[in-house]
Amino acid sequence: MAIVIYIALQLVVMILLAPLVNGIIKKVKALTQKRRGAPVLQMYFDLYKLLNKSSVVSQVTSWIFIATPYIIVSSALTAALLVPVTTFASPIAFPFDIIMLVYVLALGRFFMGLAALDAGGTFGGMGSSREAMISSLIEPSLLVSIFTIGLASQSTSINDIMLAMQSVSLPLLRPAFTLTFFALFIILIAETSRIPVDDPSTHLELTMVHEAMVLEYSGRQLALMELGAAIKQLVLITLIINVFLPHDQFIAYAGIGGLMLSLLVYLIKVIGFSVLIAVFEASTVKFRFFSIPNLAALSFILAFLGFLQYFVLGR
């Protein structure tokens, strides 16, 4: 029973929190540009509006186009279940493998790439092809980073990694983890289609990647696609903050109170990290598309150096 409650709680937290992250990032970006910006809760309104609207579907499309939003939401939420928000309520027998997480997210990406090609338009193909390149190039650094943190905690189970990281005092002050953190940060930026890799607010055909892929969607399907993307972003954020800034060891008491406190700390961390992303996004410009390999190479080198430092130091 505890497991069911835990799973329900995790799902609710993830679904409710995901749009907020986007809202915060947009708001902070607007503030840095001396604009007032949309309300923080804007994405919730958008989703509600989209879910109530009727949708337009191209005649060219097949069942893949309709199925994809559900697959994306489902892969993102499954991934969300694999990342413990708080290790307090550690569910007993649920296999949280971090490599599994990567491949569950990849399932969503695969179908997104297919759906983009389904309508037979030009934009979809453009987005799909670019996304394929970006995701291929960052994959090595993602796996190498995962291996480094996995090896440091002698496990590829996310739960074990997070527990092990709690016993490390201030992980970000260890070179291996510092470098891996930066590598994962670049990966996060690339995976969530943010500046400098992609611009989430553009609809210019020359530059858009993610937006080009969801261009054909409207109404309810678009809402699901957006929600799926937001959840995926929150999953990656959660992974990074809970691995590199573990917080459960600071909370002394267990039980419901501890859980609530832990959730609160988690919330604060998510908000803080969102502000960090927003500041980073606001302070860079979008790269030329063929400069992205440079970023990917940098990320890979960070991950690799992190691994090397781990081996040199053994800690």
Binding site: L172, L173, T178, P293, N294, A297, L298, L305, Q309, V312
Partner: protein, 218 residues
Amino acid sequence: MENYFDVLSALILFSSFVLVANKRIISYIRTFQLQACLIALTAGIMGMNSFLKEGKIDILVVCAIILILKVYYIPRLLRKTYAGVEYKVEKDFFLNIPILIFICCFLVLFAYFSVPTIGGTMAGNVNIQVVNSFSLVLIGFFFMISRKKAIGQIVGFLVIENGIFITAMFSTHGMPFIVDVGVFIDLITAVLIMGIMVTRINDQFETIDINQLKNLRG
């Protein structure tokens, strides 16, 4: 305490990778400034440590010199030189950036495998700080090789100097003060001379692409 030095050495190494990944001359200078800040921070921590423990202030003085010289003065000088020369070509390197980065990665590996065999740097086990800072020397060298424009050479030279400086600092935790000061005087002279040379070369040939020096062969 060692933890901070580990992280700082890794970050200094990373800043040199960022340097290699940079495309524009103005951003070389900025990255160099960042690297100098990190080095100053390292020296500062080390200096505070030695001040509190032994009451010596010479590392703190070195830190102050770094701040003035490398964080403020030399970048300013470089910017001035850059503003003085006229060229508008952006592509400044022979190979493309990912390949440059991968070569630098192998340089780090090379340092990792070769430094332990150099006598006297450490007793037995591999010291991460020395490996990182020694890699910095190699990357600085490689940076000089990979860039065409003379300002790239100066930055590369400065990176080598940074590398030597922190290698010395990490392996001895504070060299004799006079050595440090001597090195800095050397450095400032070298940069001044090179800066003047760059301007002169530019005046003479209307470019500072030193790859074109090949044309001087008889």
